[in-house]
Amino acid sequence: MLRLLLLCLCFAGAARAETIVLGLSQDSVSITATFDGDDILIFGAVRRDAPAPTQSGDLGVIITVAGPDQRLSVYRKARRLGIWVNTQEVEVDHAPSFYAVATSGPIRDVLRDTSDLRDSITIPRAIRSVGTGVYDSEAFIEALIRIRGNADLYQTQIGGVDLEQDTLFRASFDLPANLTEGDYVARIFLTRDGVPIDESSTIIPVQKVGLERWLYNLAHADPLIYGFLSLIIAAAAGWAASAGFAMLRR
């Protein structure tokens, strides 16, 4: 596969000196009834029209995978009347439901702050909240990153991208079981001296399939029918059980 990619490099012409050619181990992720997380491998190569420049700084590769954005509330507990109660709330306008960033080297070597700010690459930059009204709202954002980090929903893999001979790269991402459905966006940045020189992106749809999808859609589109269905199943199971065991006893 990689060899095929390299072969392709020879043909297509490009305006820029160094550009990205990209591949994925799978085009989509299906959430089935037995879904227990998934691995996704993102790989590719750097296409060059001319030999690699030698004076323009080190080559870096950064890959991010982002799940659909969510609006969140982060609550902080405090003791009131002896019990711990949510007392303060910070609303986060946009936070990815899943976010993984992998780099080919230490962040400060492969990415400058200004570029991070512009392209929202690292986790704190991918979360946006404005006008919170709480004086230490950074603590809430840190808590969000910590909680989601513990659940493997936010991942930072320094050195997670294997870069071979400044040409071939690959990174593998673990998707946890509690994924949110939607289009996941994978972005690949090629940097020289911490500044992106090329960017490529692709979409990985993550979807419930089969029974899971049918039930979820029914519950949201026809809640009345779904509700009746759950009642009928419950009543039938209850009746079948009592009838079945009554027969066994006889």
């Binding site: 519950a219 009543a235 209850g238």
Partner: protein, 305 residues
């Protein structure tokens, strides 16, 4: 075997859920309780979101109360008129409870509400049962002890709007059963329980109903109130998880049969002490969560976008 729950959107071990359903089924068979008050907190501990746990356990109760009600209808131990009055109250209470539930959900306080209700009610019920059964054991050892006579006429019998309940042999006001129904309905919506543990004592001690029709009549009310609550949760919050419910039901149904056999072999009073201790254990765990400083002060709740 991991299974992905489509509504709860978490992946849980299917056998763990079957086991939970089975355990609660054994208990409900042994003690003759619905078990909703145990299944909801156990689902919290497993990592099911509280809103889904509450809504889905009401659906599970529909199954267990339906099979039990069938048996009682056959034996004609259901007071349909009394059940209907309790049911009307229950529907009102359930609606009120769900409005409160959804309001506090929007404020981010629903976990607190559910936990507080559990700590308070499990605490009260646990201690009452413990004292009752310890006293009963003492009485059994010391037969000379005096037994309190049951009062047959209290304030309940002096209220207006009297109705004749033929099966129960009562001629009382509809107001007290209606209020009992409302209370149970509120509990059903907020705690995801049937509410039998409140209703049964209330029917015996407050309304003075004969013991033999109490269980069947309460099951009648529980079946319809939990069905209604399930529909409310399904249509307003989309939080009823059929797959989760089915696993709990299958486990529960099998467990209940073993529980019934086990219950016949053990002494009733000791059984009740066991149940009381179990209830207090769950209550204590939930109370500690509220009282001790949590290791993570922050929590995240996802809104719609």
């Amino acid at each position: 075997m991991q299974i992905y729950l489509p509504i709860a959107e978490v992946s849980v071990d299917a056998f763990l859920l079957l086991g939970l359903g089975g355990l609660v089924g054994v208990l409900s068979g042994m003690f003759g309780v619905g078990g909703g008050f145990l299944i909801t907190p156990l689902l919290f501990f497993v990592g099911i979101p509280p809103a889904v746990a509450v809504a889905t356990s009401t659906n599970q109760i529909v199954a267990s109360s339906f099979s039990a009600l069938l048996a009682h209808l056959k034996r004609k131990t259901v007071d349909l008129r009394m059940g209907s009055v309790l049911l009307v109250g229950g529907l009102i209470g359930s609606t009120l409870g769900l409005i409160l539930f959804n309001y506090l959900r929007s404020l981010g306080q629903v976990d607190l509400l559910v936990n507080l209700f559990y700590v308070i009610f499990l605490g009260i019920i646990g201690f009452l049962m413990l004292f009752e059964s310890v006293n009963a054991i003492r009485r059994a050892r010391n037969p000379a002890g005096k037994r309190k006579p049951r009062r047959h006429h209290n304030w309940v019998h002096n209220l207006p709007f009297k109705i004749k309940f033929r099966v129960s042999g009562l001629y009382i006001s509809v107001v007290p059963p209606l209020l009992v129904g409302v209370l149970v309905g509120v509990l059903s919506a907020i705690m995801g329980v049937g509410g039998g543990f409140i209703m049964v004592p209330a029917m015996i001690y407050l309304l003075g109903m004969p013991t033999k029709v109490v269980i069947g009549t309460s099951l009648f009310q529980i079946l319809f109130v939990t069905s209604y609550t399930t529909m409310l949760h399904a249509t307003t919050n989309y939080t009823v998880d059929i797959v989760l419910a089915l696993l709990l039901i299958v486990g529960g149904v099998i467990g209940a049969q073993f529980g019934t056999i086990l219950g016949l072999k053990l002494k009733a009073e000791q059984l009740r002490i066991l149940l009381a201790l179990l209830v207090l254990l769950v209550c204590g765990k939930l109370a500690l969560d509220l009282l001790l400083q949590p290791s993570e002060l922050y929590s995240v709740s996802v809104g719609e976008i």
